[in-house]
Symmetry: C2
Subunit: 397 residues, 2 copies
């Protein structure tokens, strides 16, 4: 540490809600969180003392930001690997490092690597070469339609993903003309989606959270059930082992979230993320160590914290923006209705469909806990009138 008496400085590139919630944990640990935000209005910039305004995709901004940090980490996957290597070469460790993070940045690299490691994945193919349409057509014939077309980079919350019922020449040509790299995957039939969240520290310690079920609507995670109800213990243990092994083999430092499909073929890996993850927000109240504290402990190479849950069931529901920006007046009702509900708002401008916060409920009875979380999230979005049809469900980050 550069100044032991003052505590470590952790730089987080990106000023979104993940950095914001990391600040809550940093305060407790006596860690100085420095945030590189695009604007002073960013979610995390509103709650941190040490905010640098800049572009985390600019090497100059990133390098200036990293100076004086004990370690640099990330609120998202969009910092170019070359920049990360340059910052490391200049003397500031980045966690995760560029080589690991690449697997959360490029879906094709991830699939190739996980397949080589023997991790269970959907079948896939790169869409490239002279006749990309022929690849999609051949892949569809082999696996059956529909197939899933993905941009290898830059997608999130359902963006960059298209379900094709047949080779859609117009769409594919348009995407390639935009310069996107594409891949195609089989459309996996699954019963539900699970997520495995683990942490790994540079000295090699690992810690796994209970496996959760994630519920998606229109490509956006709307609900997380912890632990995944009715999940076979063997499968849960297998999912934890799989995530810990991926973290180790890829050299991840910090958190790793592995999104999984559960279906007739067992577990299949969907996506990876190497940062605090929406599927882990429940840990703020629901685990002895929140994912945000765990990420800080991991990137600082501190011993990891206990992941034991604080209640038999914990349900997190994302709060999406509705038509009326005055979410704070609505949370009064939510708190009065349910004194045990935990409201977490991100300080973001309310736009229809945008993730602006989440709520967490805890208790002994899953149906009850789920209903409480659902009610609170719906009320914060819509107020007493309930959903209005004209509001789009499309989300953003």
């Amino acid at each position: 540490m550069r100044n032991p008496a003052q505590g470590p400085v952790v730089g987080m590139a990106g000023g979104g809600q993940l950095a914001r919630m990391t600040q809550q944990a940093a305060i407790g640990l006596g860690v100085n969180l420095r945030v590189l935000a695009g604007s002073p209005d960013d979610s995390a910039a509103k709650v941190c003392a040490d905010v640098r305004i800049g572009d985390d995709r600019s090497l100059d901004d990133l390098s200036a930001f990293a100076k004086g940090c004990d370690v640099v980490t990330f609120d998202h996957e969009h910092v170019p690997g070359g920049h990360i290597e340059a910052v490391e070469a200049a003397g500031t460790p980045c966690r995760p490092g560029a080589a690991a993070l690449l697997h959360a940045q490029d879906k094709l690299v991830m699939r190739d690597r996980l397949s080589a490691l023997g991790a269970p994945c959907p079948r896939y193919a790169e869409v490239g070469g002279d006749d990309p349409l022929a690849i999609i057509e051949g892949f569809g014939r082999e696996t059956g339609w529909p197939v899933v077309l993905k941009a290898t980079r830059g997608g999130y919350d359902g963006k960059g993903v298209w379900v094709l019922d047949g080779p859609d020449e117009g769409l594919v040509r348009e995407l390639l003309a935009q310069g996107l790299s594409l891949m195609v995957e089989e459309h996996v039939p699954f019963r539900r989606e699970l997520a495995a969240l683990v942490a790994r520290s540079p000295h090699g310690q690992g810690a796994a959270y209970p496996i959760v079920e994630t519920v998606q609507e229109n490509g956006i995670c709307v609900e997380v059930l912890a632990p995944a109800p009715g999940l076979d213990e063997e499968i849960a243990a297998e999912a934890q082992r799989l995530a810990l092994e991926i973290a180790e083999r890829l050299g991840v430092t910090g958190l790793l979230a592995v999104e999984l499909f559960e279906g007739d073929r067992g577990l299949l890996v969907n996506e990876l993320a190497m940062r605090p993850h929406n599927s882990g927000h429940w840990t703020i109240e629901g685990s002895r160590t929140s994912q945000f504290e765990q990420h800080l402990r991991a990137v600082l190479d501190l011993p990891l914290g206990e992941t034991r849950p604080t209640a038999p069931y914990v349900v997190m529901a994302n709060v999406l923006g509705g038509d009326d920006p005055d979410v704070h007046s609505r949370y009064l009702h939510v708190m009065a209705h349910d004194p045990g509900i935990k409201v977490n708002l991100y300080g973001k401008e309310v736009r229809p469909g945008r993730k602006i916060g989440h709520v967490t409920a805890l208790g002994d009875d899953l149906a009850d806990v789920r209903e409480r979380a659902r009610h609170a999230a719906d009320y914060l979005r819509w107020g007493p009138g309930g959903p209005r049809k004209e509001t789009t469900l499309k989300g953003d980050a």
Copy 2:
């Protein structure tokens, strides 16, 4: 609220660890915490985005600070009541208000009021008039020696309190010459000290936390056991009722901590505080709603949160500074030793005996939980060598 879309602005006068921990709760609630700190190095100033540097005992600084706040509250008791009234007259509500806060600022006013309300207090007398020594002497004859001499204002952590075995003319004359107002109280024999923490909102809602036991050394709280072990249920309920009634009768808005003696005469009120209190730090991990969130909810007149504990036993131990400022290297050991221990550091310069943080342990077995908290606090202070005799135990805030 002045700008509903952006969330309320709560101004907290004072930049100590109570404001720092309030920031953790404010982030979750989407509340913008503005802090009036004496220096950018203050505990809370290091972790808040909206910091105003100034003197909270100056009306000009306080008034400028209050502008644009939806409500002003306090991290300590030292803001003069007249200033608070002036800020309220200028249009910003202060919670607690001056009339209520006076009872946490002036021990004689508090004793007179509580006695009038019939709340159980130690016997006491004002030390004033022409012959203050005669008052002390008479009081000692009546109640028996020793007696407790107190400055009516400004004391904390054992400061401003003297135990007299007889009329100590030299000391009393010196204190009076310093301009201190004095009172004398009987030296109450007690088995242990308890604390009752409640919240009250402007619309009159009240919420009580479980009664805790506080363990003091040299006038400083070193340990809090929640709930108070072996406490008779009736007495616990009586303590909660007493605190709720005091909050109501005094018109407290926000938190009220009532420090109590438990002894042969039942419960006696020792001191009052109207802010988050050291005896409530255990609630961060140990209760569904932390005292910091509860205080914000109360001063914003939001419905209060559930106070249910998250484990059968929760023990908080204060971390005092030792000789070596590098507490961060020592917490590595503490975390490795006990993955479930929660470390909370205040970002304060380490000085011997100064409160620089606290640790919290939770579990089913009180002796075990207490040992874990004690070990962590001792290790953070002393390291592997254990206490060194030459270090003073004298504390400060």
